[in-house]
């Protein structure tokens, strides 16, 4: 109808041959493009243009529409008069209701009634639909005697109390409203005159004392007090059940002063000025930041601990999403991958990472990629159900590995570490003395403190070197020990030779050593029993001792737990150092105590050591 022809006509454009062409052109369009939804005027549909409409249009099919149920002629509705059951005055209002069809005589009668506007007896519905909203609150009731006996107050008259209770009832315990509307006028001596005056200004100027200004707390206090007393009168305290008693307790506990204070505080909180609010905001964000940092730190520590503990070999090796049951885990995985990807991009080419995982475009560039792709394609063809191929691991020839500086690891520690750090760590032994010895040995070999280029290869070599140094040191220690024992034995031999007639010498020696041994033993026991009684008054005097003992004890335990061989060596080391310190007669209590302790432990382990030596 309103075609391009009309538009042209309206705009005064030349018509003629163009018009039919345009029509032809426009015809195939609907077929190719989106079909015009039914029921939408063409002009409206044209407004959508080529793109789909901004809102989804669902064509309402005729079949979906529920059939209109025509059960006879249109139902009649009447304005039905009704009374409200919640009212006592029988107010009749009218609302629209279906005209009852069941009783024809009534309907006809009512019909006429409606017309006559309720002249005769109309049917009046009694409506209680909304009765349930008619809620009255319960306030305790009391008699005059009860009031006189228990509820009197200096501050409150009977009348005002009644007034308060009425207000509470009226406003259903909305204390703010009760207080707002609370306007108790002490009894008026001449009500008629009052009426004559008629306005409130006259009232205010009347001679009797103005009503007290009550605060919400005053009102509450009075009410709670009475409620509690009445409750107690009705149910003696002992007979109250838990709930009742809780309520009673609550009622008696009300403290208006506390409440007032709380409110002034609340008001003060609200009336803070902008600066204070800003400051608080700042502090809160700071707190949040700190908390977050703490959480992060905790998480990092946990992670570290988890790493140090079992490597969790029971983790399913099978790839795919099953390893990540929760979406959260999936998200973290994604994040990790994303981060890796990012870091890879940041430092392309330089791949110190152990596993060589190639991304797709890298694969294309590598010579083996064609094959890989073929394989992947084959896989794809083979089965659809197969899990997606894992990140391909390329096997490199050992030569290539060296060339590209590629290394493989079973387990990677997170984060970046410096090769120099690693080297430095290797220099450190379990004990200071050992470390010093190693340092001395390295110095002898003229290896500098800091190695200029600590590549991983250098690291490996250095590790081997350190291992050798360690072994040598061990051997030296053993030798020294043996020598020392030899000396002792020789000394004993000479002594025995000199005092050959008396056999007591042996015994005294034993006593000597045992005297040497006992106090140290007790110290060790001390430190183990109560590891954290450092500051106890009991052993104030040997605080330092205790500390030392404790520290050593720790070290001992560590050593024992981790490496047996080392322990052996260390024990000897400690022994020798103890021997040295004894020889030197050092005055440092700490060293002495260490010496005691060491010697003790050495003595206690003497048998096992000798066993070992025997084995050797």
């Amino acid at each position: 109808m309103a075609s391009g022809r009309d538009v042209r006509d309206m705009l005064g454009l030349p018509m003629g041959g163009d018009a039919p062409k345009a029509a032809q052109k426009s015809r195939p369009k609907p077929a190719t493009g989106v079909r015009r939804p039914q029921g939408v005027a063409r002009e409206v549909a044209a407004l959508y243009g080529e793109r789909p409409p901004p809102v989804a249009i669902y064509e309402e099919k005729k079949t979906y529409r529920a059939k209109r149920q025509s059960t006879g002629p249109a139902k009649k509705w009447v304005q039905q008069p009704f009374t409200n059951q919640a009212r006592s005055d029988g107010l009749v209002l009218r609302h629209w209701r279906r005209k009852p069809t069941t009783a024809p005589p009534i309907t006809s009668g009512e019909d006429t009634v409606m017309e006559d506007s309720e002249s005769s007896e109309p049917y009046i519905e009694s409506n209680g639909d909304f009765m349930k909203y008619n809620i009255e609150v319960e306030v305790p009731q009391f008699t005059d005697e009860e009031y006189d006996a228990h509820l009197r107050s200096n501050d409150w008259g009977r009348e005002e109390t009644d007034y308060l209770f009425q207000k509470i009832k009226d406003y259903a315990f909305r204390w703010a409203v009760i207080w707002d509307r609370y306007d108790f006028q002490a009894e008026r001596p001449q009500p008629p005159q009052d009426d004559a005056n008629g306005d409130s200004t006259a009232l205010a100027t009347l001679p009797f004392a103005p009503a007290k200004a009550r605060t919400v707390e005053d009102l509450k206090a009075r009410y709670y007090d009475i409620a509690a007393k009445i409750m107690k009168l009705r149910i003696p305290e002992v007979q109250m059940d838990a709930e009742q008693f809780a309520q009673y307790d609550l009622l008696t506990k009300f403290n208006p002063d506390l409440e007032r204070n709380r409110k002034t505080l609340a008001a003060a909180l609200m009336n803070r000025n902008m600066d204070e609010v800003k400051e608080e905001e700042f502090l809160l964000t700071e707190l949040q930041r700190i908390n977050m940092a703490a959480n992060r730190l905790d998480a990092e520590r946990d992670e570290l601990r988890a790493r140090l503990e079992a490597p969790a070999p029971q983790k399913p090796v099978e790839p795919g999403l099953t390893a990540f049951p929760s979406s959260q885990q999936l998200a973290t995985l994604f994040n990790q991958l994303f981060q890796q990807d990012k870091s890879k991009k940041r430092a392309p080419g330089n791949g110190p990472a152990g596993r060589l995982s190639l991304s797709a475009n890298e694969m294309v560039a590598t010579p083996g990629s064609a094959q890989q792709q073929q394989m992947a394609a084959a896989n794809r063809r083979q089965s659809v159900a197969q899990p997606p191929p894992q990140t391909p691991i390329r096997q490199l020839a050992p030569q290539q590995e060296i060339r590209f500086n590629v290394s493989t690891h079973d387990r990677l520690t997170s984060g970046v570490s410096f090769g120099s750090d690693k080297l430095l760590k290797m220099r450190q032994a379990k004990s200071n003395v050992q470390t010093q010895k190693i340092a001395a040995a390295l110095a002898q070999l003229s290896i500098p403190e800091i190695i200029p280029i600590p590549t991983s290869k250098v690291g490996d070599v250095f590790e081997a070197l350190i291992g050798k140094v360690g072994k040598l040191l061990d051997v030296r220690k053993v030798r020294e020990k043996e020598e020392g024992e030899c000396r002792v034995l020789e000394a004993m031999k000479t002594r025995r030779a000199s005092e050959s007639q008396a056999g007591a010498g042996d015994a005294s020696n034993v006593n000597d050593s045992s005297a040497n041994y006992t106090p140290a033993k007790s110290e060790v026991a001390d430190s183990q029993d109560t590891p954290d009684v450092d500051g106890d008054g009991e052993d104030d005097g040997d605080d330092g001792d205790n500390d030392g003992g404790e520290g050593d004890g720790d070290a001992d335990v560590d050593a024992e737990g981790e490496e047996d061989d080392d322990e052996d060596a260390e024990g000897e080391d400690a022994d020798t150092s103890a021997a040295q310190s004894e020889r030197r007669g050092s005055t440092s209590t700490r060293a002495v105590s260490a010496g005691h302790k060491r010697s003790a432990s050495v003595l206690s382990q003497a048998s096992s050591k000798s066993n070992k030596r025997l084995r050797k």
Partner: protein, 466 residues
């Protein structure tokens, strides 16, 4: 049959064709409860012709009548300056007109009552006679309970007067009075909040808790629509050259002139020029247009006459305004100045008739005073439900400024302004709330019935409409 039982749980409505009447200083809104806009919106101004020859036709009501220039036509308003009805006789008539002209006109065939033929000169006599007849025969509200709104500061005398009119003059079967603040809150779906109503004669701030006004907190001030109108008048007077304020009725035809150039319109001539009050009413219409299209509230954060605000305002694109006589100009900074007085008394324009407004009458101070009167426990909650309503709250950017001001006073609470987006909801919020309330099934037990009124007298309204 099943459908006759109202599914009370979901929809607690029960419509009893109650009428809701929301009288304001500028317009009276009336309509049936349950509808979403008032069917009848009539000006509160009424025409009054001095009895020259026949003393009968004295009052003229309705848009059509009062805007027709006519000699001797005085325009009046029944409201007192304190926001309480002053002229009760006139009020009764205007309200009745608002109800009967569109809602309860009994016989649609009667052309004298359907509000279409008002003010036609020949029918004056017969119309009055007819109305009297009708009133004798049946009162206008015989079938419909009436819910009326009142300002938060209404006196108890005025309230009793309202129920008297409804019961005795209109014969309503039931009556209820509710405060505009509460109803405006209902219209926004809130039972508690602080309602800022910026109307024509008054701005009011009403704290409402659980559907009840906290009376001690109710605040009002005269800084509202009319105040802004007066500011604009002063702006026009004080500009150089003076801007002529020409109402529509004086102009016969106009021609296009350049901005700021004097108008070259031809004006109508009247044998007996209309009265000043009529001219003022007509000027007010032009001013409302000006308010709607030009005036803007300076949104802050600083006050308008502080710091660089005025400079910034000057550099913003202006808005053009054309008087009915063709005079036109682009207003830049001035369009902010006329509304600034609502928030900053020191920025208001003054002249001999319009003294400087009081500081405590600015909207922000009203809010502060209202909140101060509320129990400390409820303040944050109320500040989270600040409902803005009233025709003058439609001033452009008023909400931004209000938010800004409230946040400055109460930086530590979560303040939230609720301002209905649609113009209708903003202007008629109180009526809409009344419409909701009066169509609730549970409300019908609150009505003061005729019987109760007869039993207890007018004072029952104090007891029941709390």
């Amino acid at each position: 049959m099943a459908s006759t039982n109202a599914p009370a749980a979901e929809y607690a409505g029960d419509e009893v064709s109650a009428i809701v009447l929301d009288p304001g200083f500028s317009t009276i809104r009336a309509g049936f409860a349950g509808e979403d806009v008032p069917k009848s919106v009539c000006p509160s101004f009424f025409g009054y012709t001095d009895a020259e020859s026949d003393s009968k036709s004295q009052f003229l009501f309705g848009e059509n009548a009062i805007h027709t220039p006519q000699a001797n036509l005085q325009i009046k308003n029944y409201w007192g300056s304190d926001g309480i009805v002053e002229d009760w006789d006139a009020a009764t008539k205007v309200w009745e007109y608002a109800i009967t002209s569109r809602l309860t006109s009994t016989k649609p065939s009667n052309p004298l009552q359907n509000g279409l033929n008002e003010g036609s000169n020949g029918n004056g006599d017969t119309m009055d006679v007819d109305i009297e007849n009708v009133e004798q025969a049946e009162k206008p509200l015989e079938d419909s309970p009436l819910l009326m709104t009142e300002p938060g500061w209404n006196s108890s005398k005025a309230r009793e007067k309202c129920i008297e009119i409804a019961m005795e003059e209109w014969g309503a079967p039931a009556f209820y009075l509710q405060k505009t603040g509460v109803l405006a809150a209902f219209a926004s779906g809130k039972a508690s909040g602080i309602i800022i109503d910026i109307g024509a004669s008054h701005t009011s701030v009403t704290p409402v808790l659980d559907g009840m006004v906290l009376r001690k907190g109710v605040q009002k001030s005269p800084l509202a629509g009319n105040f802004v109108s007066n500011q604009i008048r002063m702006l026009f007077k004080q500009s150089q050259p003076e801007i002529p304020l020409t109402p529509h009725y004086t102009v016969k035809s106009k021609v296009q002139v350049d901005a700021g150039a004097p108008s070259q319109a031809t004006y109508k001539t009247f044998d007996l020029p209309p009265t000043d009050s009529f001219r003022r009413l007509e000027e007010e219409r032009v001013l409302t247009e000006f308010k709607e299209s030009v005036v803007e509230v300076w949104p802050g954060p600083q006050r308008f006459n502080m710091g660089p605000s005025e400079e910034i305002a000057k550099n913003q694109p202006g808005r053009p305004f054309e008087m009915p006589d063709g005079w036109n100009q682009v207003f830049t900074a001035d369009r902010f100045r006329v509304a600034e007085g609502l928030f900053d008394a020191s920025a208001a324009l003054v002249d001999s008739d319009n003294p400087r407004p009081k500081d405590e009458h600015t909207i922000s101070r009203l809010v502060q005073a209202a909140v101060q009167q509320v129990d400390a426990d409820h303040r944050p909650m109320l500040l989270g439900n600040v409902v803005v309503t009233g025709g003058s709250s439609l001033l452009y950017k008023l909400n931004e400024r209000l938010t800004q001001e409230i946040n400055t006073i109460y930086p530590s609470t979560r303040n939230k302004l609720i301002a209905p987006g649609s113009v209708v909801e903003r202007k008629y919020a109180a009526w809409i709330g009344g419409s909701i309330l009066a169509s609730l099934g549970s409300f019908h037990q609150l009505w003061i019935s005729k019987k109760e009124y007869e039993e207890h007298g007018a004072s029952i309204v104090e007891k029941r409409c709390r």
